[in-house]
């Protein structure tokens, strides 16, 4: 019934829990590490990543199926995808500024950063490699975004709590952030087996 036999909702939940973008695929680490010291900012970034991920994956999927494959431009696909992402982010920023100024104030500062977030390009590439259909791609994008949001909010909340804790010398900052993330990833392994996608 579905493109490759996987229920899209299984993909949705799996991309949040078992194959989380950060905790099991290591995508979007740069902003995850550097913008996670404050819960509010981290959550804002997570929301904008989710939004951009859904929209760009939809557009990239359509561009791939109806433009790249028919025209035989597969060797140019990375350039086309990155251009689509950059253009979409730019248009979204303008549209948000015009129609949703409140949201733009909250999320707008993150939008330019997101162009180079590897999680966005990563989800598009996973969709192409795993040969998802349209509904699967949309739900995969949404799930990956929500999973990313969940991980960065959890990390930021933990980091806020332990901001004043004393740490061994040299471990403060990125070192402890990675170790917390490792423990989070260990916890998320507990979900494995509920849903599986490869």
């Amino acid at each position: 019934m579905f493109g490759n036999g996987i229920n899209p909702f299984v993909i949705f939940f799996a991309s949040i829990l078992t194959s989380n973008m950060i905790l099991s695929n290591f995508l979007g680490m740069c902003s995850y590490i550097s913008i996670s010291s404050e819960y509010k900012t981290a959550s804002g970034l997570g929301k904008s990543v989710t939004l951009v991920m859904v929209i760009t994956n939809m557009i990239n999927y359509l561009v791939y199926k109806f433009l790249i494959v028919p025209l035989g431009l597969e060797y140019l696909r990375y350039i086309i995808f990155i251009m689509v992402i950059a253009a979409t982010v730019q248009v979204m920023e303008l549209a948000m500024d015009r129609f949703l100024p409140d949201l733009h104030v909250k999320l707008g500062i993150f939008l330019p950063l997101i162009t180079v977030n590897c999680a966005i390009l990563g989800t598009t590439l996973f969709i192409i490699i795993r040969d998802y259909d349209f509904l699967q791609s949309v739900l995969f994008g949404l799930g990956s975004g929500l999973g990313w949001w969940l991980a960065i909010s959890a990390l930021a909340a933990i980091r806020e709590k332990m901001a004043k804790n004393k740490l061994p010398k040299g471990l403060a900052g990125p070192g402890i952030t990675f170790i917390i993330t490792g423990i989070m990833a260990l916890a998320f392994i507990g979900f494995s087996g509920i849903f599986t996608i490869t």
């Binding site: 740069c30 180079v116 990563g122 070192g175 990675f178 990833a185």
Partner: protein
């Protein structure tokens, strides 16, 4: 000139190592390090892309308008990544399969953009290329260190060769994602400990002197 090259080498590989000191390019550093062969291929690919995109960006540095430089740089990087991707696909199909999307994700690897923004934009072509090349070498070394521990403890092999004389219980956790986070966290801890005391000592002796 030789002194400057030596400075470039020590800065990129050790003092300002892109992964351990600048915390850049982490995504792929963590994702491909469960096998040493994969890490080596990835490292060589990234070194090639960084060196040549730094060279190209430096050659074009006076031609690219400042406002659209990011998108131009991204396009230059993407073209080199396509080279690497096609080359790996053609010559090492199995490795290409296990690397999955991570070769293409070199495009969004912050190391390349970082070198382009911080160095290649303001410097002549040859030093920029060397700078990019050694930034890539520093990245590759870190990848190989992490991959050594993960492959040796997780699979009991090194570069795919069985280490039969060292028989021990395999650590399954080393193959899974959390181990990558723990290892890189520990490496960052060790390197920042190496650097932190030295700096304070230097400033102290400087004051005494």
């Amino acid at each position: 000139m030789t002194e400057r090259i030596r400075q470039v080498i020590s800065r990129n590989i050790w003092k300002e190592n892109q992964v351990l000191r600048q915390i850049l390019g982490i995504c792929s550093a963590l994702a491909v390090t469960n096998l040493m062969t994969n890490s080596l291929v990835m490292g060589v690919g990234l070194t090639f892309v960084t060196a040549f995109s730094s060279l190209t960006i430096s050659l074009l540095r006076n031609l690219i308008p400042h406002r659209i430089r990011m998108i131009v740089q991204t396009l230059i990087i993407a073209s080199y990544v396509i080279f690497v991707d096609i080359f790996i696909k053609a010559n090492m199909p199995e490795i290409s399969k296990s690397l999955g999307p991570y070769v293409a994700l070199i495009i969004t690897n912050c190391i390349i953009m970082g070198r382009a923004e911080a160095y290649a934009q303001k410097n002549p072509p040859i030093p920029s290329m060397l700078d990019g090349f050694f930034a890539g070498v520093g990245y590759t070394i870190v990848l190989l260190i992490i991959a050594f521990f993960r492959e040796f403890l997780g699979f009991g092999t090194i570069f795919g060769y069985d280490i039969s004389f060292a028989s021990f219980e395999l650590w399954t956790i080393m193959v899974m994602p959390p181990a990558a986070f723990f290892l890189i966290g520990t490496l960052i801890w060790i390197t920042s400990n190496i650097f932190a005391p030295k700096n304070t000592k230097k400033s102290e002796t400087g004051r005494k002197g």
